[in-house]
């Protein structure tokens, strides 16, 4: 606990506590529709935070995180459908698989000096391999998709992740809070400092004695491993998996919009970005429904406009200037 509290000013701790209290109380106040929106927001906050470990901390741009979401979802769903293995055990299988997949991509890139945009392209390529592979893999129903059995349950089954939105909400809230704490600890650890050094200037980091290959590998593997939970959660929340959807580049992009808008490399950025983006998009949707306007793709256009505004006006994201205003720091660390 002492280590967790270190580096948090009383003000940020109070803010964090208040936010968490509001989120814990939320299901008692809001209706099921809003609760579902909150679940999606927290899912994006979690996935964005996981991606942020690689890009925000260690400076390695992944545009193919869908591969970890998809792999983890397929591993857990297949185990559940075929063998009746619950999602938590499925997650235990998915974590090493995703970490190994990250290790393969990282090894190929870092050993052969693939960096910057070329690294980003490599991550897209691997996600595309996976998409095409799963699209043709009969064992997991190929392009027809994998479905989890949906039944009416008398009560929530946390062990099998079957139940009502309130249960899913608390699961993703707990996971997001845990990941936040993990990232806070990572950022203040020796490895966290080495990541920042690599992000800032890799050659200078090496000259300072940092084995950059090793620490970049750790970043990719840890990011992939924690992303796997988001993949499993997604599979059990939506109950269906189609390779065309779960491995598509748009999945990879949508999880990075939150941190980009909130602030890459910050702890609050991914959370704030998810709230801003998903919150506003849902508000837009409801407003359009209420007005009887039917414009497919309006959300995507809206995302585009948000991104443009932030990139042009707040290149560091929304969080750093907001943090300064709230008096809780806001440096890029």
């Amino acid at each position: 606990m002492a280590r967790l509290a270190a580096g948090l000013s009383p003000r940020s701790a109070a803010l964090l506590g208040a936010l968490f209290a509001v989120l814990v109380a939320a299901p008692f106040i809001i209706n099921d529709y809003l609760l579902t929106v909150l679940i999606i927001i927290l899912y994006f906050a979690y996935a964005g935070q996981a991606w942020n470990i690689m890009m925000g901390f260690a400076g390695q741009l992944s545009l193919g995180h869908a591969i970890y979401l998809g792999l983890a979802g397929y591993v857990a769903a297949t185990l559940y459908v075929l063998l009746g293995v619950g999602p938590w055990l499925g997650l235990l299988a998915a974590i090493p698989i995703c970490a190994a997949c990250g290790a393969i991509i990282g090894f190929l890139a870092f050993r052969f000096g693939v960096a910057g945009v070329y690294f980003a392209i490599l991550t897209i390529a691997f996600a595309e391999f996976a998409r095409i592979g799963f699209d043709n893999w009969k064992f997991v129903n190929a392009s027809s998709g994998l479905f989890l059995p949906v039944k009416q349950y008398a009560h929530n089954d946390l062990w099998r992740l079957r139940g009502d939105p309130t249960m899913f909400y608390y699961v993703i809230l707990a996971a997001t809070a845990l990941l936040f704490m993990l990232c806070h600890l990572l950022l203040r650890s020796r490895m966290g400092y080495f990541w920042l050094a690599i992000r800032e200037d890799e050659q200078a980091a090496r000259a300072t004695g940092i084995d950059t290959f090793r620490y970049k590998m750790y970043a990719v593997m840890i990011s992939a491993a924690v992303t796997s939970f988001a993949g499993v959660f997604y599979a059990f929340f939506y109950n269906n998996l189609f390779p065309e959807q779960v491995f598509s580049i748009s999945r990879s992009i949508e999880i990075i919009l939150g941190p980009v808008i909130g602030g890459v490399g910050t702890l609050f950025g991914p959370i704030l970005g998810a709230f801003v983006l998903t919150g506003l998009a849902e508000a837009l949707n409801s407003a359009m429904t209420a007005l009887g306007i039917d414009l497919p793709g309006a959300t995507q256009v809206f995302y585009g406009i948000c991104l443009l505004l932030v990139v042009a006006g707040l290149p560091d994201g929304v969080w750093p200037p907001l943090a300064r205003r709230l008096g809780v720091g806001g440096s890029k660390k």
């Binding site: 020796r190 400092y193 920042l196 090496r206 004695g209 940092i210 440096s331």
Partner: protein, 241 residues
């Protein structure tokens, strides 16, 4: 006394160009050793080979009796050779203290211990009061000092300084000379520097090596080297004497 750093017949070629040609020298422990020479003489290439940024084509480099040629830069640093860059490259978005703490984390595994070490280094380089500033916002002299601080925080036995004085005003140069002298005198730190600022070279160095077109043209005590006709002709110019 055996040399701390021994460079033996080291060469580096870029395509057809021989940047460093069969250069040999030895730096005894506790020395301040300067490498001077005109632009393009191969000084930085020589430095890069010692620091592990590039491998020599031929020759051997040993540090404290162990061969280090061809080792990667991070391994060289962990063995006790720290460097600064000719064009400064601090970690721009991080604070001054975090920059130096990252250096100190090479020898300290606990972040708090590293931070304590970083603070004492910052004191020595007059950067303590600026420790919360973001590195990118510092002036050039401060950034140069920050690079030296980050290198020192790795607790090296040999410090490689690539034109640390370039772009500094004379008073700032004198201050840096003072700091380096104190490090050499009090901590026994061995220093190898590339320098154009002769004022600093003459004030600091116990030994000077002159490179021209990748070849050693003179080597010896500073007073003798600056009177060497070959050095005057190729580098200093007649008016400098």
């Amino acid at each position: 006394m055996t040399a701390l750093l021994a460079v033996a017949a080291v060469s580096k070629r870029f395509r057809g160009l021989v940047a460093v040609d069969q250069v040999s020298f030895a730096v005894p422990p506790g020395a301040i050793f300067a490498v001077i020479g005109p632009n393009g003489a191969g000084k930085t290439t020589l430095f890069n080979m010692i620091a592990g940024a590039m491998a020599p084509d031929d020759g051997a480099i040993s540090f404290a009796g162990e061969a280090i040629e061809g080792l990667p830069a991070d391994a060289v640093c962990r063995r006790g050779i720290a460097r600064t860059f000719q064009i400064v490259r601090p970690f721009p978005a991080l604070s001054v203290e975090d920059n130096v703490t990252i250096g100190a984390l090479q020898r300290h595994h606990e972040v708090e211990a590293a931070r304590t070490q970083a603070r004492s280094v910052l004191h020595r380089l007059d950067l303590f009061d600026k420790r919360h500033r973001i590195a990118a916002t510092l002036t050039l002299p401060d950034r140069k000092r920050l690079e030296v601080a980050r290198a020192l925080a790795t607790e090296p036995r040999l410090l490689l300084l690539d034109e640390t004085m370039a772009g500094l005003r004379p008073t700032e140069t004198d201050r840096m000379v003072e700091v380096l002298r104190a490090l050499n005198r009090d901590d026994g730190l061995t220093i190898l520097l590339i320098e154009h600022v002769m004022r600093a070279v003459m004030a600091l160095a116990s030994h000077v090596l002159v490179l021209d077109h990748g070849v050693v043209i003179a080597s010896g005590a500073p007073e003798a080297v600056v009177r060497d006709p070959a050095v005057v002709q190729s580098y200093l110019g007649a008016e400098a004497v």
